[in-house]
Subunit: 140 residues, 4 copies
């Protein structure tokens, strides 16, 4: 049984592109992050609130991603998140960025894995993810 | 009598450009900020240290800038800072970005004014700039 | 008689903030640009299409902005655009960023003027704005 | 026999940090890119010139990276590049980001692999890397 897929729309603006005429490769990590943030928010987990209440935050520990096709200015994208692992101190998700073409086609542009650990906001040391957070994530 | 001009070299990377083939307009504010940070550092004012010692930080209050010519990938730029006003709670500087061409020419690309206020790191409320800071800036 | 105000929602993500805990000052220019792009799109003016058809693009010529209050992670903002001047070769707009608080309040965070000229995509030289573009903008 | 390691200094500015007080995870890809660009430049390979002469450019195909320790405002970093594979249509490099502490210590913050393919500037289709480029890279 696999976890449901969360989707978040992204529009490509000038700020996202580079002189090659395409989205700069680092910016897919911004898109991934927005989708993870909205996924958590959809579960009732606002990150500013989490930090205020639990004194912790998610920090990315590792990333691997493949760039399959480029995105361009004005493109309509969809970034996805699917939970693949929920451990005591970290979550792993599979993420994709899709292009929704004007002709109704949909094309996978980029995909990868992201693992984020839960750390103290002050010391940045790894901590156990609060049970309430894990429950909401697992309940997804 | 005018204050001396501080200069800081900037190289244009892919990250700075957009699909128009030129440096994205917001990124000149990043260049300006780097030059202000290095100007302060050259006066012995590291901003992380300032925050740790005085509990305050500079936050930009207003900006005006003109874009005269575009910069492109691989261009060698120079960002400048010249103090124009040091008040109790804010500093104003004049800043420019110059292109140093491969042929020895130098061209003004962008210039403007930036005013930064001194605020509490916690409350973000305006405070008086610490005397030690003003002295070092004024000594420039 | 003043032009209508176009509004575009913006959410503050980690990418927008800095170590001061607030939105980095240059990023308001990203927000402003998104709102201008969506305003043009709402008038039927996609910028990639404009470039393909007319060989031109808008490039910002000058900016002035005031930062009144900071925005923070997870904040819900609204960026606005109001046309203030449509010339032969440039457009001027007044733009604002508002915070929509969780308590129903709305607070002006940042505002300014932006003037963008129309230039050749290849030569980057100033050109007259295509009549069709001016008509759609003026019709707003 | 391993390829030599190229190093490039990076300073952490406000623009690089996020509200967690540390460098935003996507920005390590900006640091990696700067180091690759300077590595190529050190071999006589300016990317704008490459594009003008050969009509091609390097585009990242895949990335994997691990974040070991966070970087903070004002930190002095070093980004490295070491060629691990030079194929007909792509190059692979191993990259690291090191922190040079004020106390003389040096700490590995982030490391990973990046593979970049050579594509046509116009069509973005994969092409064979020009022999002259491969020779200079291999000569490293």
């Amino acid at each position: 049984m696999t976890a449901p897929v969360f989707e978040w729309p992204i529009r490509v603006y000038w700020e996202d592109t580079d002189a090659g005429g395409i989205v700069f490769y680092a910016n897919y990590l911004r898109f991934f992050e927005r989708a993870r943030t909205e996924w958590l928010r959809s579960l009732g987990l606002g990150q500013q609130a989490l930090c205020d209440e639990h004194g912790g935050m998610f920090v990315v520990a590792d990333v691997s991603l493949k760039y399959l096709k480029p995105a361009r200015l004005d493109d309509r994208l969809r970034a996805t998140v699917r939970l693949t692992e929920a451990g005591r101190a970290s979550l792993a998700v599979h993420q994709q960025v899709w292009l929704d073409g004007p002709d109704g086609t949909t094309t996978l542009l980029c995909e990868g894995q992201v693992r984020a650990g839960w750390v103290s906001h002050r010391s940045l040391k790894t901590m156990r993810i609060p049970a309430a957070v894990l429950q909401l994530v697992g309940a997804a």
